[in-house]
Symmetry: C2
Subunit: 344 residues, 2 copies
């Protein structure tokens, strides 16, 4: 590694001057400045961020903890966060927690060792498992922004989609189409997902809408399936659901990925969507608009979420004593082809 010393020697100046030229931190006469710049060029000198960080006692880096980097939804979110962070001059440090508290704890350790100044944190499910990890970060005075999954008990910045409202809107829309029997489907690796987190809120929204419409919520109509991936869960769950509640005319899958499995199952059962049965998703991942049929869903666009999270983070870094906020990001009903009035 060529260090600042070699540059200084080559340019015939002190290392302090080199640093000043490179950081524009003090006036340096044009002639000397040029000599330094030339030396830098000639030696392909690249300053060591490690040394700079040590000296400045800051890293300009932010940890990003997501459950799975290859999840259809979270990869989009991660991408948006990366864009937002780099454009704000921070370096993202990604890690997948695999929604496992132990792995998550390891990730947190790792981030702390790396001296991140903040963490964008999508908690594992159930969220209660993540409480301790979040508190470890807070105890170390690291700024934390919780994303996607709320932990209401924690005094910390959060950016959460309005899942309740989304669920409500979805149900209201289906009810408005005339559906009387609506199935709810969810699943994935997070065995306890329906007990907490976004799924629970979406369901609560559905229940509210049904109640307002004078409909009864039949627990039999909600099926959660444990599976390697959400599509598989939706696929299997759909069979279970229709077996135990054949009267169902509309299915609200709690994620788009899940809905894709539902479409698949419907196709295999010879059911035409939306003629025989309506299907809705949640998230509006890119795939949703390419599914067959195109999926009606509730959009939860990653870009505004990422932006809000980074804004909150940066604000907190600048004013560590500012109040904690919970920002609710609105969802938006996107009507496509997979929903229609019930048959008959």
């Amino acid at each position: 590694m060529t260090s600042i010393k070699s540059v200084a020697k080559r340019a015939g100046v002190s290392i302090a001057t080199v640093s000043r030229v490179l950081n524009d931190t003090k006036y340096v006469s044009p002639s000397i400045r040029e000599k330094v710049l030339n030396a830098v060029e000639e030696l392909n000198y690249i300053p060591s961020i490690t040394a700079r960080n040590l000296r400045r006692q800051q890293t300009q880096s932010i940890g990003v903890l997501v459950p799975h980097l290859n999840d259809l939804y979270f990869s989009g979110l991660a991408f948006a966060i990366e864009k937002e962070l780099t454009s704000s001059g921070y370096s993202p440090l990604f890690a997948s927690t695999e929604s496992d508290v132990l792995k998550e704890s390891l990730c947190v350790d790792n981030l702390m060792q790396h001296g991140v100044e903040g963490v964008i944190f999508v908690p594992s499910l159930p969220v209660s498992d993540s409480v301790e990890n979040v508190q470890r970060l807070l105890a170390a005075e690291i700024a934390v922004v919780l994303v996607d999954r709320a932990i209401p008990t924690l005094r910390v910045n959060q950016v959460i989609s309005n899942n309740f409202q989304g669920g409500y809107d979805a149900a209201q829309y289906l009810i408005g189409l005339g559906h009387k029997h609506i199935g709810l489907l969810d699943g994935g690796t997070d065995a306890l997902l329906p007990k907490s987190g976004p799924g629970r809120d979406r369901i609560a929204g559905v229940q509210q809408a049904m109640a307002e419409a004078g409909m009864e919520f039949n627990p039999k109509n909600f099926v959660f399936t444990d599976d390697q991936n959400q599509s598989g869960a939706g696929y299997k769950g759909m069979f279970t659901l229709l077996h135990q509640s054949p009267e169902i005319t509309a299915v609200f899958a709690l994620t788009d990925a899940c809905a894709v499995g539902v479409l698949r199952a419907a196709y295999e059962m010879g059911l035409s969507v939306p003629r025989d049965i309506s299907v809705m998703g949640f998230d509006d991942i890119p795939l949703a608009s390419h599914a067959i049929p195109r999926l009606t869903t509730l959009a939860q666009p990653p870009q505004p979420i990422a932006q809000a999270a980074i804004n909150l983070l940066i604000k907190h870094l600048n004013e560590p004593n500012s109040e904690f906020q919970t920002i609710n990001v609105g969802t938006r009903l996107v009507v496509r082809e997979s929903t229609a009035p019930p048959p008959g």
Copy 2:
């Protein structure tokens, strides 16, 4: 930040001893060891990786450059790479190049500043654009492994799917089913993709298989579409293709994402897949097995690719003078529902 000094003071020993206990680098008597460990515990001491890296002159971190973190295929690859790297004791530093040379160059600068010891590099397209960036890394004695997209002119480690063979297998399979008129579809943001990289090799494989079967390759049957995303490209391209070559009975989309758009277009045109027309993809992303109909494709599983890349990287780090290798990872034909003999 609580530093090693506070721990030393608290334990009543020198900082050297603390370091030794923490790194198990020299025998320390049990009683003192315990005192140190207690002090560490009490102060929640976490060593600064920054300082350690500076002193040790190494970072144990590896840059990972992919075109898009939210691409269906690359996110899977990134996930596999992350897993492989962390389990080998390295920290991944992800960045999306957006397949743009300028952005890519910035990413490379950034990685070099961070002192990465190696880079897993998926070049932008056309790959020739990335040559300079790769050479910059090599000049700085940073280990590089090219993944997914070969740059044959460079003397560097590479891990590439056997795209030619994959293309060949795909075409041979379709020809074996009896198809006489096979369309080729590709697209995305990388306007020059068909001119270089994996796509070109896949096409070459197709041409070889066709030639062996005594079929002529009609350039009209290859449509490349510029679009924001691959699915959209497949969707639009399909219309173009069938318009200019209505005799086509099978379509080989050069990626699964593209194939999804093709399925979509076929659906809208009232064509039943595979009865009226067969569709194949490439990659075997998770979605492929959930599409309607399930997609026949060539699997290019990310895990073995990631593993091979990391092995190559680590080997090169340990023996910097070892020969460069290009590892060809085999693809595997996965027959599902989207292909059948031609109608009639």
